[in-house]
Symmetry: C2
């Protein structure tokens, strides 16, 4: 079965917003085993929208439209799709009640035009919207399936996950299951080289690499008659990847981020951590603190941007700053040691670098970064050379600091959460 | 003149990457006064790509294709477009020399298939690529303009800015000039209400609101015969907006972010700033440090996530934590005061809040945040109620902390950078 995506909205055509819905829906459809050959974006214009829907009906089995289900006169996705399929609209009591309830809960007076959202094409399947007032609509006709979804991602995504995926699964012969193997500490091209033979001979499961900032993800996808069978196909491939990449794999779970893997590792080994940041200025701490429940292992962090702060707060020696400069292996080490001395934390990580765009020299160019990780008195310091904008360099630094934390903890502690 | 965008790439259809090129190109075309009615995405497939180009040729004057100009056999945008326009390809010596130079500079051996990128459709305009090996190509035929651009944004964007914009400007009757009025501290719906009358009667210039995290931008766009004339049209509208929003406008410059406006304000008033963060865990400091040259005004920051860290690092009283709780007006104030006492900074900002998803109670729900800003001993503390994910709440908190810093500095210092 083939699927075609139509995003409706003048704000996308004007470049006011990035079309993240299309990326989300494409990825989900690919995972479901539906082939997507075309995506379109069209404005809230009856004629052009109609033309786009008609074209899609000639070449796809399933057409997913998103956006244009709002209460204003501009919103005409439902009206246009219904007209093309020759269906009249009726006022649906169930949807009316849901809209009323939605507004009453929020103590907002309903505007008259909101009732437009309760108008449903005859014979359509209504998909309740748990996060807004526009219901989803599915119309089936002559073997074609036209699915209308609300545009806001916080309405579209939950609706798609809860109701549309089960609906679409009926049309895929067999079940698609994916597992993502997440790798840190190795570059994209090295990862690609290390799995080149596997990708070349792949069939079912397939392996697809995705480059992330400071990480590489390998998605292993299998198609089978049952979920159990798909998982059985995936297992040896993931095992092979684990053998090839070892501890550089930080997780095979979808909901585990690199920072969560570090926090889990700290928790499993009953360790506390402290950050001391210069050029990243809090980005590392901010990522760690994005993990719910981090308070067990992370209590405090320092941002020491100025030399004086490095000296006063962390006890970095004036002589080290003078002799080696703020961006040096020596100063990174002293920052990590100082943070450990003051806080008595088990793991301390220090970052100093030149994020640019100014401040680089021939000897110390923009992108030069030192990260030092102290685990119970054992210090590892690494030199990095990153490129990109100021923010890109800082993001790469932060991801590599998390990777170094992980590597150092694994080196000295046996409680590995690997593959958890 | 109308423009149509075609993004070529299987990776977009599979949802591996978000189509940011389309958003970028749409915005630029809108600014140029070109109307974009359709965008499409199609894979590296000759038949489907051909069909998409043919359809676009029937309905648009200018067709911009991006992607599919790489050296592999899969890449066939140039070959397909040339074939549709009935043009043979020839090996271009100038482009060959540029490709050779590109590889020699990087000390990489040229693979045989790279020469494919030097093949140019007969009679086409060649657009040199300063950041890669695939040149841009422009073909003009029967009043239509087909523009081929490389897919990687770091190649596409510089090429578009340098060569494609001047090329497209020839086709727009008159010049389009925009000015963005950036507002903080007022919600989107309030801003919309405050400019409703202006938007209703707008013609030239137009006013378009854009909601950002903790900010609202109003873009004022005018079309005229000359840039001078366009700027003359924009001026009274921006003046009217300045009268309505006053100091809540933090800038009217494109390259000034909220954090930069705060850093500029600190610099103009010769003030230093220090952050003390709990739930945001470094996000506020990280945003400030994203401003190049921040070192004049920002020296250090504290992340005090645990109560003990709040006490030990900032001198928050145990009795205050026990009596009012860590998330309270009192503790926020003591954090800000403590940071000022230790560092002698002129401006200190403290943040404490419940970012969730756990930790909320009936009295103190998830999303409750206190931000305290001390300017030379004068303390302002505000209570906020945010909603969304853990990360969303933290991002909203950070933006509002920057806004509060700005408001407090403006209250006590006269050196306003407003409208700078």
């Amino acid at each position: 079965m083939t699927v075609e995506l139509i995003s409706v909205g003048t704000e996308i055509l004007l470049g006011n917003i990035v079309n993240t819905n299309a990326a989300y829906l494409s990825e989900k459809c690919a995972q479901l085993g539906l082939s997507c050959f075309y995506q379109s974006v069209v404005g809230d214009n009856e004629e052009r929208l109609g033309e786009t829907i008609r074209t899609a009906l000639t070449r796809a089995d399933i057409i997913i439209l998103s956006g244009g289900l709002g209460p204003t006169e501009d919103d005409l996705t439902k009206e246009t799709a219904a007209q093309i399929l020759g269906r009249a609209l009726y006022s649906d009591e169930h949807t009316k009640a849901r809209i009323q309830e939605y507004f009453e809960k929020r103590k907002i007076v309903i505007a008259e035009n909101n009732w437009k959202q309760a108008m449903i094409p005859e014979g359509a399947i209504i998909v309740d919207n748990e996060n807004g007032t526009a219901p989803g609509v599915i119309m089936e006709q002559e073997g074609k399936h036209v699915i209308l979804l609300p545009g806001p991602p916080n309405e579209l995504i939950p609706m798609f996950e809860k109701d549309i995926i089960p609906y679409l699964q009926k049309f895929t012969s067999g079940i698609i299951v994916s597992k993502t193997v997440k790798i840190c500490g190795i570059g994209e091209s090295t990862v690609a080289t290390m799995v080149k033979d596997m990708i070349k001979k792949q069939d079912n499961p397939t392996i697809a690499p995705y480059a992330k900032t400071g990480e590489v993800h390998l998605r292993v996808t299998a198609k089978a008659e049952s979920e159990k069978e798909a998982r059985r196909l995936i297992k040896p491939v993931v095992k092979e990847l684990k053998e090839r990449f070892g501890n550089d794999i930080y997780t095979t779970e979808d909901d585990v981020t690199l920072e969560k893997s570090v926090v889990d590792l700290l928790k499993a080994n009953h360790l506390t951590a402290v950050t001391a940041e210069s050029c990243t200025g809090g980005m590392l701490a901010a990522r760690l603190i994005n993990v719910p429940g981090v308070s067990d292992v992370f209590k405090t962090g320092f941002i020491t941007y100025a030399n004086k702060a490095k000296r006063r707060t962390l006890g970095v020696k004036k002589s080290s700053l003078d002799r080696y400069g703020a961006v040096s292996e020596k100063v990174a080490q002293e920052m990590a040691k100082g943070a450990a001395m003051i806080t008595k934390a088990d793991v301390t990580v220090a970052i100093t670098g030149i994020a640019g765009p100014d401040g680089g020299t021939k000897e110390k160019p923009v992108g030069l970064v030192y990260i030092s990780c102290n685990v119970c008195g054992k210090i590892t310091t690494k030199e990095y050379h990153f490129s990109g904008s100021r923010n890109k360099i800082r993001e790469l630094t932060t991801a590599n600091a998390l990777t170094l934390m992980r590597q150092c903890i694994l080196k000295y502690y046996s409680e590995v959460t690997f593959g958890k």
